[in-house]
């Protein structure tokens, strides 16, 4: 091994150890009594110091040396860890890390030798050394005293041994140094050694089982010496026998310890690609073997199938890493941020062992860090505020990770102030993200999720960690880039939880394969909700039209339908889009928070597919996420469900379009039943207005209709009432003008008129037929498809369009105000 190799190994190992140091030190600050953690910290620094002394990195050695001195005092109990010492030690870790970086880049440990840091570290070990001088002697006393007074039952033999006791007290000191370097360090190694050494000694015939029992009993009664030491002290065995037994044990332990080797990530990536190819070949083989009548071939291909599947799983596992790897830095992050803004925060981590693909781990590291910082900086309140609010002084940040349905869920929750919906609403309106009207209509949840929009920050004051308005939107985009979702829930005063849902891996995904116009397309399973098949007969009635837009009622909710062949502009082989007379296959998909039904020609099967990215020539095509090779060797495209939804306008890029839906949502969350007037406006289409907007229902004979300029009017209660014909308003634009000006046909029947007031003006809306007045919750909506309509809902089991009165007035060009009549009419209605 050349020297550069040694240096490289040293760097890799030291960097890993340093990450652990951050964690251990922060843990120690909370629990300074944890001797094992302290020993671990000490050992790491000691190793770094030793190795860099050997490699000739003197500056690094100097820094590590003063750190080690301080740690020695801590370990020996002469000092207790306090925040000041922790900060200094963390500073040392940073300095060491910096120097390691230098070494990596230049081969030298850099120019800086951190005199201030070293001085601080030195000062810290001397300032408190004076008052800490007493504890070691006093702490030593009880240890040696206990075994003597403790065991009452076996008092006699022990009492006889009293004289050797002082020797025993001295003996460990003499014995200690020999086994110390090896076994003292790692507690994990020490424990089994202690447990088994008795057995081994009995086995070797040097001691009786009863003696062991006696010594164990002494341990139980508080003797902290090791079994071997007690036995020696009791004069039952010779020191040499104990040491020999210990060596045997350690050798055994080394043999049974799981072996690990370091493997380059590149190699794993290459393996992954090869396995991907193998999976493809396997798929092809399976397809061939299914068509060939050959039992031998089929048996082989079945076995091949099993092996390939298993191999794929195992190789995937090599790239899996526990999420704890990236969480490890969070205690430090939280500590630094909390200290910076004067907060007290405790971090709790549940599910550290949850595994994720390496690529995904890397991709979510930054978003998670941001969320954690955000929680501490903005979520958790200052200690005084918390105490005043009757909460614990110390804030709590909980990270939770768990697997669920082939995905990984990561939750970041704090018990802080929670998000102020009102403030977000205000801010959103102020910034022009939504209009005041929209803002008022939005549900609490929608309001909260506004913080994921670009340029949105509610931080009262901008701090250096977060609150610059470039955070949450980046978090959202980064998570979505890897096929994940972000959701936020918050209770004012109780805290906020951000939930991130991400796939396990990106390289091989389960997908549904569908056919459209003779080509196959793969739909990632994560976007898939359910499949619906409508037989020809059923399809004819089940698919309804909202002004030319097909919808399907899925358990009472309107599901907009998107025809894949139409969206992709495919040649319509035999399945003309829109002609609904064959069985219809609907793939119900989730895009963002919206659902839609994708109509395809055929649904084939689910398959594990290997995702291959599209080359730059096709980067502009947003409807595809990648490509994959199918079992028969042909290439199939993987649909990008979000891109497709955007193309089909299911998910709007602007927020404008969803306003109506939001209005409806608001009505729904309120859960109020409204009374609607149902009528038909044009042909058989059902329409409705809330009854509250109506003043009176009237019927006018056609002879009472007069022309005022180009407007239809009638005399009504001593006033002139403009008449707006709904049929004309809904007419296509080019016909509208002429229809508007056409005089009433003398032979037509009486007009059904809804007399309404809108913002002080009265007018009559002429409809075709008045149907009913119903009390209903307009709880099923889809977006409007024409100008005069607010949204569509299911009222009385039928799709009904709710009219947008202001829009109608605008289209009709009615602007005369008849305020007097308005009040009169309203009075009559009451």
């Amino acid at each position: 091994m050349s020297e550069t190799d040694i240096v490289k190994d040293f760097l890799v190992e030291s960097n890993e150890n340093l990450d652990r140091l951050d964690r251990d030190l922060v843990g120690l600050e909370k629990n300074p009594e944890d001797k094992e953690a302290l020993a671990g910290v000490f050992r790491t620094i000691h190793t770094i110091k030793g190795t860099c002394g050997f490699l000739g990195f003197n500056k690094l050695e100097k820094v590590a040396h003063v750190g080690e001195n301080l740690l020695t005092r801590l370990r020996d109990g002469q000092l207790t860890l306090n925040p000041e010492i922790t900060t200094a030690l963390l500073g040392m870790v940073d300095a060491v890390r910096q120097m390691l970086k230098e070494i990596d880049a230049t081969g030298q440990d850099g120019e800086a030798d951190y005199p201030e840091l070293r001085e601080t570290l030195t000062r810290l070990q001397t300032t408190t050394a004076g008052n800490a001088g007493v504890p070691p002697s006093s702490s030593a006393a009880p240890v040696s005293a206990k075994p003597l007074t403790g065991p009452e039952s076996s008092a006699a033999p022990v009492a006889k041994e009293t004289p050797p006791a002082p020797v025993a007290a001295a003996a460990p000191a003499a014995v200690e140094p020999a086994p110390a370097p090896r076994s003292k360090g790692d507690p994990a190694q020490r424990k089994p050694a202690r447990g088994k050494i008795g057995g081994l000694l009995v086995e070797r015939g040097v001691v009786q089982a009863a003696d062991i029992a006696r010594a164990l009993e002494a341990q139980e009664h508080g003797d902290r010496r090791r079994l071997g030491e007690i036995l020696v002290a009791l004069g039952l065995v010779k020191m040499d026998d104990v040491l020999a037994a210990q060596q045997i044990l350690e050798a055994k332990l080394r043999d049974t310890a799981p072996e690990t080797i370091r493997v380059g990530v590149n190699l794993l990536d290459k393996l992954m690609t090869l396995v991907g190819e193998l999976v493809l070949a396997r798929n092809q083989l399976l397809q061939i073997s299914n068509t060939v009548e050959d039992t031998g071939l089929q048996a082989v291909s079945q076995r091949m199938n099993l092996i390939a599947t298993e191999l794929q799983e195992e190789v995937m596992k090599t790239r899996m890493q526990p999420i704890g790897n990236i969480w490890a830095q969070f205690p430090r992050t939280v500590r630094d941020v909390a200290l910076g803004c004067g907060k007290e925060v405790e971090i709790e981590m549940v599910g550290k062992e949850t595994e994720l693909d390496k690529t995904i781990i890397e991709a979510i590291k930054d978003p998670l860090t941001h969320l954690v910082r955000n929680s501490v900086d903005h979520g958790i309140e200052l200690p005084e505020v918390r105490v005043n609010a009757g909460k614990a002084r110390v804030g709590r940040l909980t990270l939770r990770a768990f697997h669920e349905g082939g995905q990984v869920n990561i939750e970041i929750s704090d018990d802080g102030a929670g998000l102020n919906g009102e403030r977000i609403r205000k801010k959103a309106i102020e910034r022009g993200v939504v209009t005041a009207e929209q803002g008022a209509r939005m549900s609490e949840r929608e309001i909260l999720n506004l913080i994921f929009l670009p340029g949105f920050s509610t931080a009262e004051k901008v701090t250096n960690v977060s609150g610059r308005g470039v955070g949450m939107d980046v978090v959202k985009t980064n998570v979505e880039k890897i096929g994940g979702l972000v959701d936020l829930q918050s209770t004012p005063g109780r805290g906020t939880t951000v939930r991130v849902k991400i796939p396990l891996t990106l390289a091989i995904i389960p997908a549904l394969v569908v056919t459209c116009a003779g080509e196959r397309y793969a739909i990632p399973q994560v976007n898939l909700l359910e499949l619906v098949r409508l037989e020809a007969e059923e399809a004819r009635t089940a698919i309804e039209m909202v002004h030319g837009v097909p919808v399907y009622r899925l358990r009472g909710r309107l599901l907009p339908l998107v025809y894949l062949s139409r969206e992709l502009k495919l040649a319509n082989h035999g399945h003309p889009a829109g002609r609904i007379d064959d069985a219809v296959n609907i793939v119900v998909l989730q895009a963002d928070d919206r659902q839609f039904g994708l109509v395809v020609d055929e649904i084939n099967d689910t398959e594990e597919i290997v995702v291959k990215p599209l080359r730059k020539q096709l980067k502009t095509v947003k409807t595809f996420a990648g490509s994959s090779i199918m079992g028969d060797g042909k290439v199939a495209l993987i649909l990008d469900v979000l891109g497709l939804a955007q193309r089909a306008s299911v998910v709007s890029e602007t927020r404008e379009r969803t306003v109506a839906e939001r209005a409806a949502d608001a009505a729904e969350t309120a859960g109020e039943k409204q009374t609607f007037l149902l009528f038909t406006g044009l042909g058989d289409s059902r329409m409705a207005i809330p009854l509250s907007t109506l003043a009176r229902l009237e019927e006018f004979p056609i002879s009472q209709v007069e022309m005022s300029g180009k407007e239809w009017v009638t005399q009504y209660r001593g006033q002139i009432l403009p008449l707006v014909r709904l049929a004309v308003v809904l007419e296509e634009r080019r016909h509208r003008l002429r229809a508007l000006q056409a005089p009433p046909a003398p032979d037509s029947g009486p007009l059904q008129v809804l007399v309404m007031n809108h913002e002080g003006r009265s007018f009559g809306l002429v409809v075709e037929r008045i149907l009913d007045i119903v009390e209903a919750r307009a709880d099923v909506k889809s977006k409007a498809t024409r100008a005069a309509v607010l949204y569509s809902a299911v009222i009385g089991d039928k799709v009904t369009e709710l009219l947008d009165i202001p829009a109608i007035l605008q289209i009709a060009g009615v602007n005369a105000t008849h305020s007097e009549l308005a009040t009169k009419a309203a009075g009559v209605a009451n």
Binding site: L568, L570, R615, Q617, T623, K634, V635, A636
Partner: protein, 149 residues
């Protein structure tokens, strides 16, 4: 014989084109192409080249030539590009020719438009001209090409 270089030649609408031999990965007969809906017109689709998915670019379209007559199989010249292998669809494959630098000449000023960016020059062969194609440029989808879907 100062500097010579080798070119892989092919025909497109009776024109002789050449690409540097070292950029060519392989030449294969027509393969099954998976169409990519909504893609720029010059992209013919995707082909499976022994487990590798390769984009097929219709050179006739890219070079603004007449479209290939229906039913005439194209040949694939697979070239290495910055972004992985790309297959260029051509009419017919010619010989590998070795040319000297002396026979090279810049394209005439009268050659304009997007085609000029892709044709770096001309080698004057004995009986005809060989147009030198910049494969990197040919594989690039400029905005105008992408928009012309």
């Amino acid at each position: 014989m100062a500097h010579t270089s080798q070119f892989c030649t092919f025909y497109l609408d009776k024109l002789l084109f050449g690409v540097e031999l070292k950029t060519v990965q392989e030449v294969i007969r027509s393969l099954e192409v998976t169409q990519v809906p909504l893609a720029p017109q010059v992209v013919c689709g995707l082909i499976n080249l022994r487990g590798q998915i390769v984009t097929a670019v219709d050179l006739r379209r890219r070079l603004e030539l007449e479209p290939r007559a229906a039913g005439v199989p194209a040949m694939n010249v697979v070239v290495r590009s910055d972004d992985g292998a790309v297959s260029l669809l051509v009419d017919e494959i010619g010989d590998v020719v070795e040319v000297e630098e002396a026979t090279f000449e810049r394209p005439p000023e009268t050659l304009r438009g997007t085609v000029r960016t892709m044709i770096t020059g001309v080698h004057k062969l004995n009986n005809r001209l060989m147009l030198v194609l910049d494969t990197e440029k040919a594989c690039q989808m400029t905005d105008t090409v992408a928009a012309g879907q």
